[in-house]
């Protein structure tokens, strides 16, 4: 029985100091896809201005387009140039469908469970996606930490908001609440973790140390929530959004670094937003 010789790349692999990192040219398929998404978003926004069913459809399209754009952007950043966009286009399409369906019926929100399953199946099939943390499992300790962090931040949000600003904590319509949670599971938390932690943080962490990478990823994530039209305009809501999104972002980055998977951070985000959905202004 032979003992495997450990490979130490610094000693055992050729090194060419003259070979520089090549500037990655934008993939035309990515440009086309991004253009299509922007076009769809524009169409959705245009339809939102209309009345009746078209308005609902337009809202669904616009919402779906934004999350699809996050999915596609994350895929382009995270995956190598040789990989095709097929899987992410399919996941984005399922997002569109779920988004439109949920505007017509609460049961349509069940379709939001499709995108995470599709992304997860890609993670199982492609070993190369593990370098960005897309894998089916994580250590139990990390999963528990993620759930605990989400519950702590969510609970703190509920207590602070109710005690400080007089917000109510209640679930008046269970169906609507579950639809909102489904939206977080399939779109909000999923695309946030995929884009900001799996793609941006993973890529930055390979070039910089943890804190600068986490700061970049978290600041972009906070910006995304600040730009979300669904965020209330009240000053305390905006300050609170910055505060909690920053904490959530850094926590998710730390969980990603510690566990090697985006699953704990995803669970933290889902749990937090599940608490957020209970707040009534």
């Amino acid at each position: 029985m032979t003992t495997a010789v450990p490979l130490m790349r610094l000693l055992s692999v050729p090194f060419d100091p003259g070979r520089a990192r090549s500037v990655e040219r934008p993939r035309w398929s990515g440009v086309v896809t991004a253009s299509a998404v922007v076009a769809v978003l524009g169409a959705g926004l245009a339809m939102e201005a209309a009345h009746g069913d078209l308005r609902h459809i337009g809202q669904g399209i616009a919402r779906g387009a934004v999350h699809a754009a996050f999915l596609v952007a994350g895929w382009i950043i995270a995956v190598s140039r040789q990989d095709c966009l097929g899987p992410v286009v399919r996941a984005a399409a399922s997002l569109f469908v779920a988004s439109i369906a949920s505007t017509f019926s609460l049961w349509g929100a069940l379709l939001y469970l499709l995108p995470p399953l599709m992304l997860l199946s890609e993670g199982v099939r492609r070993e190369a996606l593990r370098h960005v943390g897309l894998c089916a499992t994580a250590r139990l300790r990390s999963v528990v930490l993620g759930l605990g962090a989400g519950m702590f931040l969510g609970g703190h949000l509920l207590i602070s908001a109710s005690l400080t600003f007089g917000y109510l904590v209640s679930v008046s319509n269970v169906g609507q609440y579950l639809a909102a949670v489904a939206y977080d599971v399939g779109a909000n938390a999923l695309t946030a973790e995929w884009l900001f932690r799996a793609a941006i943080f993973s890529r930055a962490w390979r070039r910089w140390e943890f804190w600068p990478s986490a700061a970049l990823s978290t600041s972009l994530a906070v910006t995304r929530y600040m730009a979300d039209p669904a965020l209330p305009h009240a000053i305390e809501a905006r300050v609170g959004a910055v505060f909690y999104c920053a904490l959530l972002g850094f926590t998710a980055c730390a969980l990603r670094a510690e566990s090697g998977s985006i699953l704990p951070g995803y669970l933290a985000t889902v749990t937090f937003f599940a608490a957020y959905r209970m707040l009534v202004p």
Binding site: R9, V13, R19
Partner: protein
């Protein structure tokens, strides 16, 4: 380990909630307890985390009170006590981290020094040092490479790492520059490898320099981050390892010197023993050689003194006496010459034109008369008739060579003396004495011109002599600016070639006066 402070924190929070006072409760000051506990146990990370949680759980109590009471002294006090835990947790934890890191560094340095003194092989000590430094840096793989031109891995953790001449470490050894790679798996300067893992693998190579020049490099591979503080520790360890390597190198040198010295002492002792043995043998041989003619002298003189001996027997006895006296004189002369050579005094030579053919003929006649079992022949060359040399010296050279040729042809045989111009040595004349005797074994050929050395052969054990003849031949030849060579085959015989200056060598120094 963080569970204890968290539980205490929760208890304090519950107590605050139960108290439900209008103003910020004094219980809030207790939050410093679990914060300091976490900072002392877990350092800045633990203290900062628990402190931040303490800040967060105070917020639902402090902020509403601030809203009710306004921004007064109590509110400010509440704000301050809210922000104190994270600040204190980070500050105290940071100090604890610094102290622990310094202690770990010093302990590692102490352990490295202790390992050097351990009774173990050099390889075991270096492997142990590599393990310690790897544990200190929290690295996955570490290697110590020694040498700048012909580098090799002297220790690695885990072991068995292979070194490539075109690797990043080889580049550092050539350039003498440190190298930090943020992502070993995806850096374009390395060829593509297996699929990258979820965490980046950082690489750091530091040259080892103990102050007397670069001695090698330290290579570290670490999964996850490689913060500045860890890099600083790695630099310090590189210095310590350079000292370890330098100490090991000096220890090896010292060991080698000691071994060489021991070998030289043994060789010198052996030589002294051989000389002592040779001296004992020499004394024995000299005593024997001297005793033989002296016994003959004594015997014959006693005979002549004690009895009336007939004239024909008297003449014979006197002839024996003369011969033995001559022999005694030769032995003493040889001993005196050897003594002169050994004391470094130059031989007194009187160069003159010597008729070589006449001298050879005379000696051949002498030896032929004494050794009828041998056939002697002279083959002179018309262009090699005259030498410019000391007559006595040439005579002794000839006598020694012919005597040896006779002695080492115990069964009889031929002895041929030739002269010829030395083609390879202009101005020199070659005189050779050839025999078909026992020859000289190859392993003894290099020593036969040494003093007191005689060829050991079962056919010539009865041969008498001091072992000085050939030493004298060489000394006398070299005193004339010439040299002596030998060719021999065991069982076939030997040919001794002596190169001495001819008359032309002297004339060549002077321009032709007729020109």
């Amino acid at each position: 380990m963080i569970l204890g402070p968290i539980v205490l924190l929760a208890i304090i929070t519950v107590a605050m909630a139960v108290e439900a006072a209008d103003a910020p409760s004094v219980i809030r000051h207790l939050y410093l307890g679990p914060t300091v506990w976490a900072a002392l146990s877990l350092g800045a990370r633990g203290g900062g985390l628990v402190g931040f949680i303490a800040c967060l759980v105070q917020a639902p109590f402090t902020l509403p009170a601030m809203e009710r009471l306004g921004l007064g002294p109590e509110s400010i006090d509440g704000l301050v006590s809210m922000t104190m835990p994270p600040a204190l947790g980070v500050a105290v934890g940071g100090l604890v981290d610094q102290v622990r890191t310094r202690a770990a560094r010093l302990q590692t340095v102490l352990d490295l020094q202790r390992d050097l003194l351990r009774d173990a092989t050099l390889q075991e000590r270096l492997d142990r040092a590599a393990d310690r430094v790897r544990d200190l840096l929290g690295a996955q793989r570490l290697a110590l490479v020694v040498g700048c031109t012909a580098a090799r891995v002297v220790a690695s953790s885990p072991g068995g790492v292979v070194f490539l001449d075109r690797s990043a470490v080889a580049w550092t050894l050539r350039e003498g520059l440190p190298l930090l790679i943020h992502d070993l798996e995806q850096d374009p300067r390395f060829p593509a490898g297996p699929a990258a893992g979820p965490s980046p693998v950082r690489g750091l190579i530091l040259p080892l320099d103990s102050g007397s020049g670069p001695v090698g490099a330290l290579a570290v591979e670490r999964v996850g981050g490689f913060p500045l503080s860890t890099r600083a520790v790695a630099k310090e360890m590189a210095l310590q390892l350079a000292l370890v390597v330098e100490n090991a190198r000096l220890a090896l040198l010292q060991q080698r010197f000691a071994e060489e010295l021991e070998a030289k002492v043994l060789a010198a002792t052996d030589r002294l023993r051989q000389l002592d043995q040779a001296k004992t043998e020499f004394v024995s041989v000299v005593a024997h050689e001297l005793r033989t003619p002296l016994t003959a002298l004594q015997g014959f003189t006693e005979l002549l003194v004690s009895r009336a001996v007939p004239p024909e027997r008297t003449a014979k006895a006197l002839s024996h006496l003369h011969r033995e006296a001559e022999r005694l004189g030769r032995i003493v002369a040889e001993l005196l010459d050897v003594s002169r050579i050994e004391s470094g005094r130059p031989l007194e030579l009187k160069p003159e034109a010597v008729d070589l053919c006449e001298m050879i003929d005379r000696n051949i006649e002498l030896f032929a008369a004494q050794h009828q079992g041998h056939r002697f022949r002279c083959v002179p060359h018309p262009d090699a008739r005259t030498l410019e040399a000391d007559r006595d010296a040439v005579d002794r050279i000839l006598k020694n060579l012919i005597s040896n040729a006779v002695k080492y042809s115990p069964g009889g045989g031929r002895v041929i003396v030739r002269t010829m111009p030395a083609d390879d040595h202009p101005g020199m004349i070659e005189m050779s004495v050839e025999d078909d005797g026992v020859g000289i074994p190859a392993d003894q050929r290099s020593r036969i011109f040494d003093k007191y050395v005689r060829v050991r052969d079962r056919q010539t054990t009865a041969v008498r002599g001091l072992g000085l003849g050939l030493a004298l031949v060489r000394a006398l030849t070299e005193a004339h600016g010439g040299h002596v060579e030998v060719e021999s085959l065991p069982g076939k015989g030997s040919t001794f070639r002596v190169f001495l200056p001819g008359e032309q060598a002297v004339l060549a120094d002077f321009p032709d006066s007729s020109a």
